[in-house]
């Protein structure tokens, strides 16, 4: 396929609600995504609780690059390209741990956890043969590991962008920030205070990565996917279903999106009070008690300040989260046009009683991940949607994204947000419109007009 600058507007036709299957199966388009989206956008790399101590590291991915998330001895967090500057060998082949230096097993170049080539006297570390073979002429300061220029610790979650000109992470988020806060903040309403349960789910799915992003960004329409688990009932209270009740009265779950930014959420509209307490976790008295305590603390702490509640949500391009049940951060790493590697981090309040954490963990595991009774069915759908879209004839026919097109209206209290009721494909259109803007290679001033105006 010859890629032309105006191609993406044709592939993604928001006006008619038609999106070409090519963007889900075409390898040339996929290669462009790596360049035009993944080297520019803010990407979730990990969480600070994975690297609590100096010299801790956690190996992650940004697009198709391996990166190391580190905390150096001055407690500064870095994201480093996991490839030796000499011959490219992966300098860290562990998932996580603690080390004084990443020592390349090929020729021995050694880097400290801030990414710099070790400048120790003697020739055993740093660059072996520095005096004898390099005649002291190698500029060690210039040959440290490639360091990601933009790294942000946002309430414990770590984000990075390779683009030095990228807007600040908070500008990139816009008012979507409130929904991310609702996932990362303590259940009692205080800022931050969440941690990742040890161990990250990582698994391969033969589907385009965007299927997962779209699923989380506001697809209330796919409930049939989960009918089997709803019949069985795996929620933390008795009865059918897979979650506790989350929508009552005027506190409905609504599809809310940010057209200028590409983010979206299934969440509550902004409000200035907590809804009446709805009993949850009824099969687990200790958790129910905790849930009630943090509810009361939240009522007191937030008073009449504006706040939101969040369910599933996506932040452009490939990060999703759920603020409630199961409370998680997820990343969909691109592997090919038709394969992704899905990562899931599970969140709990850091200071919650162990018994509460235990119940939540068991609930998360029976819901989510490859062994999750809910998620296993999603992956079947994404995989065979990708496969059945690869056919020559299939590719000629766009997907239909016409639900609720033209019916979105502004949301009071949220800058640049629109909502389309409880079931609409507005957020998918928002996602792919943003995708097309990045793919067209627009500048940051074009991509972020509100911020640069």
């Amino acid at each position: 396929m010859t890629i032309t600058p105006d191609m993406y507007e044709r592939l993604v036709n928001i006006k008619t609600g038609e999106i070409s299957r090519e963007i889900f199966v075409n390898e040339d388009i996929y290669a462009q995504e790596l360049e035009r989206i993944f080297t520019r956008a803010w990407l979730l790399v990990g969480h600070e609780s994975l690297i609590p101590n100096p010299d801790d590291f956690f190996v992650s991915r940004m697009g198709n690059d391996s990166v190391i998330l580190t905390r150096d001895r001055q407690n500064t967090i870095h994201v480093l390209l996991n490839s030796c500057m000499h011959r490219g060998m992966k300098v860290c082949r562990y998932d996580q741990g603690n080390t004084r230096a990443f020592s390349c097993p090929y020729h021995g170049w050694s880097y400290s956890t801030d990414g710099r080539l070790v400048e120790a006297p003697g020739q055993l570390v740093g660059v072996p043969g520095f005096e004898e073979h390099y005649r002291c002429e190698l500029d060690k300061k210039a040959w440290g590991l490639v360091r990601c220029p933009n790294v942000v610790n946002y309430k414990g979650s770590i984000w990075a962008s390779w683009d030095e000109n990228a807007p600040s992470f908070e500008d990139y988020l816009g008012d979507m920030r409130l929904y991310l806060d609702a996932a990362l903040d303590h259940r009692d309403g205080s800022e931050g205070g969440s941690e990742v349960i040890g161990g990250v789910h990582k698994w391969r799915v033969k589907c385009n990565w965007k299927f997962a992003v779209e699923n989380f960004i506001g697809d209330h329409y796919h409930n049939i996917s989960h009918r089997s688990v709803d019949l069985v009932g795996i929620g933390p209270s008795a009865g059918r279903g897979r979650r506790d009740m989350e929508s009552t009265g005027s506190f409905q779950n609504i599809i809310i999106g940010f057209p200028a930014l590409g983010h979206g959420v299934i969440g509550h509209l902004p409000r200035y009070e907590e809804p009446p307490y709805a009993p949850a976790y009824q099969r687990h008295p200790a958790v129910q008690e905790y849930d009630r305590q943090v509810y009361e603390a939240r009522v007191k702490r937030l008073g009449n300040k504006m706040r939101v509640a969040t369910g599933a949500a996506s932040i452009f391009p490939n990060m999703s989260f759920h603020g409630r049940q199961p409370r998680t951060l997820a990343v969909f790493h691109p592997i090919s046009a038709t394969e992704m590697e899905m990562w899931r981090f599970y969140l709990v309040d850091k200071d919650a009683p162990q018994e509460v954490k235990d119940v939540l963990r068991h609930y998360y595991l029976r819901y989510s991940g490859p062994g999750g009774m809910t998620e296993s069915d999603d992956m079947e759908n994404w995989m065979y949607a990708s496969e059945a879209s690869r056919g020559t004839i299939a590719r000629r026919h766009p997907y239909n994204y016409q639900m609720g097109n033209g019916y979105a209206k502004p949301v009071e209290g949220l800058k640049g947000a629109v909502q389309g009721g409880d079931t609409t494909e507005e957020n998918a259109r928002i996602l792919y419109n943003r995708w097309a803007q990045f793919m067209a290679g627009k500048s940051w001033s074009e991509l972020m007009p509100a911020q640069t105006a």
Binding site: H201, W203, V232, G369, G371
Partner: protein, 180 residues
């Protein structure tokens, strides 16, 4: 052959036969019958394997009842999984996968006798190769080690505990919808 050796041999045959019968139930999709082989207090646990430094192998596997695992549950959840398989609308298993459990390297490592001196509980190690073939060309191969505690209840062996160590880091299958 002395009496002790003969008893050990017979016990080994009995345990092996049990594990192979169990595999047949799973591969014949008799999940409710398989579930009946699990004690009510079963712990069924499948940790994740991490790549760790040479001196940190104690941290290689995520911890039972502490960390995120592939599966870390008891009888209630196993029952829910069996119920889900029986709905006929569990899309990940509709149409049903073709699954074969190859169970090998069976070795009894510990025998706990009852008051009469007969085996009441055994610790068993084994390897598994679980082959899943689904729809027309989807193939997954799960290989690893199992450590079981089998308990004799009313004259029949039951699974009281199963630890499943899958030899994968990133799970290469899109999901886990079978038992090991």
């Amino acid at each position: 052959m002395d009496d002790t050796a003969l008893k050990a041999l017979l016990l080994h045959r009995e345990v092996e036969d049990f594990l192979l019968m169990e595999a047949d139930l799973l591969d014949d999709r008799r999940f409710a019958d398989w579930l009946a082989l699990c004690t009510d207090d079963i712990r069924y646990w499948m940790p994740m394997a991490r790549n760790v430094q040479f001196n940190k192998t104690a941290q290689e596997y995520t911890r039972e009842q502490m960390d995120t695992c592939w599966i870390d549950e008891g009888k209630e959840t196993l029952t829910q999984r069996v119920k889900q398989l029986a709905t006929g609308i569990h899309w990940a298993e509709e149409p049903q996968s073709r699954v074969s459990h190859l169970i090998t390297n069976i070795r009894i490592t510990e025998v706990t006798p009852d008051a009469a001196g007969n085996p009441a509980e055994v610790q068993v190690r084994s390897r598994f190769l679980v082959y899943r073939n689904r729809l027309h060309d989807e193939v997954d191969i799960y290989v690893g080690k199992r450590r079981d505690t089998l308990r004799k209840l009313d004259g029949a062996w039951k699974i009281a505990r199963r630890e499943i160590f899958l030899d994968q880091n990133v799970l290469l299958a899109k999901n886990i919808t079978t038992f090991f």
